[in-house]
């Protein structure tokens, strides 16, 4: 249920972006969910849509557009590009759980399938990013 904290940060970031853009209402928030962190999508979505919007009027009619992004690890040692399933992370246990809280702890458990190195870049699919917001201001034409 730490998904609520992640959802909360997304909405805070969205509201800040709305401020910057002079929006009075946010209609749509586009979020990318990285595979590595394995968030519980239902909890995350429930937090975004049901629990949190009450925090700000500008979120009253907001819609969410969530999409998932696969992990792409790139080995700094041999250059191999690999995915979560090839990284040797033990599923359904402590390793998964540690990475769920802090994706960088993959450096403790994940290894390059070609050379065994823990020295990789997480090129994509790490965690939650706010891709885009759409909205309007009172004095928008139309």
């Amino acid at each position: 249920m730490h998904e609520l904290a992640l959802a909360d940060s997304v909405l805070k970031a969205a509201l800040s972006a709305a401020d910057d853009a002079g929006m009075d209402r946010i209609d749509r928030i586009v979020v990318k969910i990285g595979e590595l962190q394995q968030i519980e999508r239902e909890l995350f979505e429930f937090s975004l849509t049901t629990v949190l919007p009450a925090m700000d009027d500008r979120l009253a009619g907001v819609q969410f557009d969530l999409s998932e992004e696969l992990v792409r690890f790139e080995c700094r040692s041999c250059g191999t590009d690999y995915g979560r399933n090839d990284a040797g992370i033990e599923g359904d246990g402590d390793q998964d759980e540690a990475i769920h809280f802090i994706p960088e702890l993959s450096h403790a458990f994940a290894r390059c399938p070609s050379c065994g190195s823990p020295d990789f870049e997480i090129r994509a699919g790490r965690g939650i990013t706010l891709e885009r917001i759409e909205g309007s201001s009172e004095d928008d034409p139309g």
Binding site: A5, L6, S9, F101, H107, T129, L130
Partner: protein, 244 residues
């Protein structure tokens, strides 16, 4: 937001997560092994014993020590609306060692920055009088990150009288002074005999000298056992180090 540029939402949550924390103290000093972890842990313990609400956050991700000093069992924190620090010996505590157990965590600087951001975004520290940050050595990512991310942070620098330590701490002190980072002062650790080099350094740099924690040859036996830590010379010395 800039069209086409995605946003990392984590930093937007930090201020709120720390809203109930009155004071954030970064125990630092650019030289390794000067006793940041010992001081951070015993300071947190002493403040808790005084009835203060205290947090302890071990930011030396690749070589965490506070769980060893305080003899804390590993185990995942509770997860509810975020993560709750472990509450042990009266201290609210977070360490990556709780997540990884005995496993080594090799982390490049940018990964350490990400881990810090993540923990700041999800940890519910609640209401605290003091949050103590145990910093890693050097002048690298994590020390630069806390300066950037936590404008309320005050540094408490640790040094000792060894020439190599004085040389290193002087550099760090000069930099923090130049950057106008809030500084509680410089604390000498492992004080022996009539050594005055740390005091002189504080004087020369124009920062408060916070006194001396004695070298304690029995400290080693007290590590991992809070009752013995409470009886140590280090514990007695750190209790009133933080000016109000």
């Amino acid at each position: 937001m800039i069209p086409g540029k995605s946003i990392d939402p984590r930093s937007f949550a930090i201020e709120d997560r720390l809203a109930g924390v009155s004071r954030i103290v970064g125990v630092s000093g650019s030289k390794g092994g000067v006793g940041r972890s010992i001081i951070s842990s015993t300071l947190a313990l002493a403040l808790a014993d005084q009835g203060k609400r205290v947090g302890l956050f071990d930011l030396d991700f690749t070589s965490p020590s506070d769980h060893v000093v305080l003899g804390v069992e590993r185990g995942f924190p509770d997860e509810e609306f975020g993560i709750d620090p472990h509450f042990v010996h009266g201290i609210h505590m977070v360490s990556v060692a709780f997540f990884t157990g005995d496993t080594a965590v090799p982390l490049r600087g940018d990964a350490a920055t990400n881990a810090l951001l993540e923990l700041l975004a999800i940890t519910r520290w609640g209401d605290l009088d003091v949050l103590v940050l145990d910093m890693p050595p050097g002048l690298g990512d994590t020390n630069l990150d806390v300066i950037q991310l936590l404008p309320r942070l005050e540094f408490l620098l640790i040094g000792n009288g060894s020439k190599v330590v004085i040389d290193s701490v002087r550099r760090g002190l000069d930099l923090l002074t130049e950057l106008d980072v809030p500084m509680i002062g410089l604390l000498e650790n492992m004080h022996r005999g009539d050594e005055r080099a740390v005091e002189s350094l504080a004087l020369a740099a124009g920062v408060p000298f916070l006194g001396s924690v004695p070298y304690d040859r029995d400290l080693e036996d007290a590590l991992g056992d809070v009752d013995r830590l409470r009886a140590s010379a280090v514990y007695s010395a750190v209790g009133d180090v933080l000016p109000a």
